[in-house]
Symmetry: C2
Subunit: 488 residues, 2 copies
């Protein structure tokens, strides 16, 4: 029985549960070996917990439009402001933007602004709330770190596509702890090699300080995507829904990163790459594992769907025969990833009969910057990891194109969260994050003047000190109604 | 006698001399100890060499305007094209831009375009030429590296202001080897802390690999500037010619960098900062050395002018009494910097009677990007070290303001070299550099549309493989006349 299977709940990282959920540390849960029935129970328990959270968050966003629709219907009534305020408080649990409501009777309710305001405020409420409860906390953070080390890796980071249908890849699809495995999303998973090399050097330096003499690798994962339903339209927009192109691009990006470290630092074995394909309709995965030289063959893949119903041992044997070209540690890791993914397949089966109803895009907002670790949910946020619009423009372009279909087509704006998190223990880091958020907002305006002129982009600038559990700091917005006061 | 004094010429780095100059390795030059007369001889020899190079390069640029003036006078003559071509070849040693010349008789000679073309082509010719001869090669590269290590530092990088009057700070003002000491210029010396932290981590990692167990520091130097002539107008534009503000800003930037490494990597002693002020009228320096905790007091400074005529020992004693708060290694280093600067003061005295005739701005072009190591000359290039216009905009803004006075005021454009160098041994590095040069050109156009509409910016995009001695690769230009063919 594997260290990563779902029956253990050591909870070394601080977190608690959404209200109304049973605590996980029930009697016997800490025992290392349980029978298969308990493992299944445990998985179902975890799935219920993840489902409750997904439902809770998405429902909060999905209540906004119906609520505003009802407000629009009564906007000319004499007691509109108190009535609307009450509904916003009751139905959305938000501070009403009184200014917007008060202007309704003279010049029509500004639905565009109101929807953006409520969407961004809902985001802020969740992000602030989760700092203390951490509802997506992984029960086995520390276990995963030591499992990863046993497999030969000291760090794992994942670049999925910016597409919102992959935003849950870490915590849901692969059932990994987001506290440990970082996500850097780029359109088409086209991550910036220099940025990743700098991160590698930083991690490597810290590793050599804290664990000298060890010889583990940095594991870089690229997650491309395709869709088993409507695949020719619902694949990766950045690669024109060409699945093979998406996979090849991911393979080449991994190789480029590995080579940059190999050649720049004379460390040919410091980085290992793993390529994962995700079916966004079902969350099943295919894995393209590297051989001992790091080469990845996209024609050879392991499929989680082949393993449905298999025991851990069977999965391990399956991997052993189909990924014998990979290292022992890589085989162990991907066995675990497949086992984890089976839990997600069960999740999708239980909640959506095996296939998501929203096969296509249904993101509620765009997030750009560095941060966004809290809410890892499918189809909620289109996420572009970037530090400048100049270099991140392809990500934003794709995002705005998606929202043209999602929001502008029905007269709504695109809500964008611009966010730069920082470590407050580093002097000057806050000021630099704030300056960056300002620059990115300015650059957004100058790159998309037509969107701004038409009121088609509403942004909120945030920054959070990662050394604390404080809510994000409000830095600004182009919505006059969004202020520090009515967010808190 | 100090390891860094000018009588040794070991020339471990490949270089040769400009034509017509005597070789430095004359009989006896390799001997470690020479008498004072020889040391003076040697300094004068070096000064002549540096002066010849400065004169040669600047003269090449300064011949352009008189040449074009003469061409303008004869532009309607029937044999203008062959005549002008001949003059451009004879006087400027450049391939004539025939297209521009041919259009003169129908619609007037495009002086703006021609001057920009010839300026950028002259730059290209020099940069290509120096790859093999390396006329600014420092005779004591390896000695300097070991001297620096003896002082306790494994790396030294300098951020001067982007101002062209500081572009020669490394090779001339401080007489350091540009092969070893890197320059990252920013307007107001406001360097990007994150960028420098990433560079620090990279250097530190390589150091731990190549020299484990050593405990040297990374020395970061900030060079601010002021002017002893016309100081209220000719100080640092980015700080409103407020010398104290410029110094304070430099001090705080150094502290920010030191703290970012200290707090981000738990390495409080990894970085040491040194603040240098440069009088752009005379090239004399003031040094603000850190105490053992790294604090810099801008009210306490050492002046090179106080040391004129002193022997090495006297300078060392002067430093010992006025910088006793600094480490032994720092004292040795700054003693050497002062001694080096005395050679530059002699240079300015010999060539310009102690004060530059061009006290104000007289740059010939702007350089932006990463590279530009070859030509380290005063008042030739305004240099902004940047990877995006979005983050480097303040540098470009200041540069264009300077060129508004220098060039636009007399009907000329601002020539800009956009350049990103890379190490060709790293797979994909060239493609990334090329992409960056493209993005920066696009961002320039979108940030300064009025300049482009008026034809007030002419740029040339270059990239060079630092692993070779090849000339820079031509990537593009908004001047149709500038092509790969007529540059090579």
């Amino acid at each position: 029985m594997n260290v990563m299977s779902m029956q253990r709940h050591t909870r070394k990282m601080p977190h608690s549960l959404p209200e109304g959920r049973a605590p996980l540390r029930r009697p016997g849960a800490g025992l290392p070996y349980l029978d298969a029935v308990s493992a299944t129970d445990s998985m179902e328990h975890e799935n219920q917990r993840l489902s409750a959270y997904e439902h809770q968050v998405k429902h909060a966003f999905d209540r906004i439009i119906p609520c505003v629709r009802k407000l629009a219907a009564i906007q000319y009534e004499e007691d509109f402001v108190p009535l609307a305020s009450e509904r916003i408080i009751d139905e959305l649990d938000l501070t009403p933007p009184t200014d917007v409501l008060q202007k309704a009777w003279t010049r029509q309710l500004d639905v565009k602004q109101l929807v953006s305001h409520l969407t961004l405020a809902t985001y802020y409420r969740f992000v602030s709330g989760v700092q203390h409860v951490n509802p997506l906390a992984h029960p086995q953070c520390a276990d995963f770190v030591s499992f990863l080390a046993d497999c030969g890796y000291h760090r794992m980071d994942i670049t999925p596509c910016a597409d919102g249908r992959l935003a849950h890849v870490i915590r849901y699809v692969l059932r990994l702890p987001a506290e440990v495995v970082r996500r850097k999303a780029y359109a088409g998973a086209a991550f910036a090699v220099e940025d990743n090399v700098a991160k590698w050097a930083e991690v490597e330096l810290k590793r050599q300080q804290s664990a000298p003499g060890t010889n583990t690798k940095y594991l870089k994962v690229v997650a491309y995507h395709f869709s088993s339903i409507d695949g020719e339209r619902e694949g990766c927009a950045a690669h024109g829904s060409d699945d093979r192109k998406a996979a090849e691009f991911g393979r080449d990006a991994l190789l480029g990163f590995k080579n940059a470290v190999a050649q720049g630092f004379s460390r040919p074995d410091a980085v290992e790459g793993l390529l994962i394909g995700i079916d966004t309709a079902t969350d099943s995965i295919v894995l393209h594992t590297p051989d001992l030289e790091g080469s990845i063959d996209i024609d050879s893949s392991l499929q989680s769907t082949d393993c449905v119903g298999m025991s851990s041992d069977k999965i391990r044997a399956y991997i052993g025969s189909y990924a014998s070209h990979s290292s022992e540690g890589m085989q162990r890791l991907v066995s675990q990833l497949i086992e984890n993914n089976l839990a997600q397949l069960a999740y999708v089966k239980t909640n959506h009969d095996g296939c998501y109803p929203d096969v296509g895009h249904a993101e509620r907002f765009i997030g750009i910057g560095v941060g966004f670790d809290e809410i890892q949910l499918r189809n909620l946020m289109y996420f572009g990891y970037l530090t400048t619009i100049e270099e991140g423009a392809p990500d934003v372009d794709v995002g705005l194109k998606i929202f043209k279909g999602l929001n502008q087509s029905r007269g709504l704006s695109t809500p964008i969260v611009i966010r730069f998190d920082y470590y407050g223990s580093v002097a000057g880091a806050r000021e630099r994050a704030v300056a960056r958020a300002g620059r990115v907002a300015d650059a957004l305006k100058s790159r998309y003047p037509d969107h701004f002129a038409a009121g088609d982009i509403h942004y909120l600038q945030l920054s959070r000190d990662l050394d604390t559990r404080a809510a994000p700091e409000f830095l600004g917005s182009n919505l006059p109604s969004l202020t520090e006061d009515n967010l808190s």
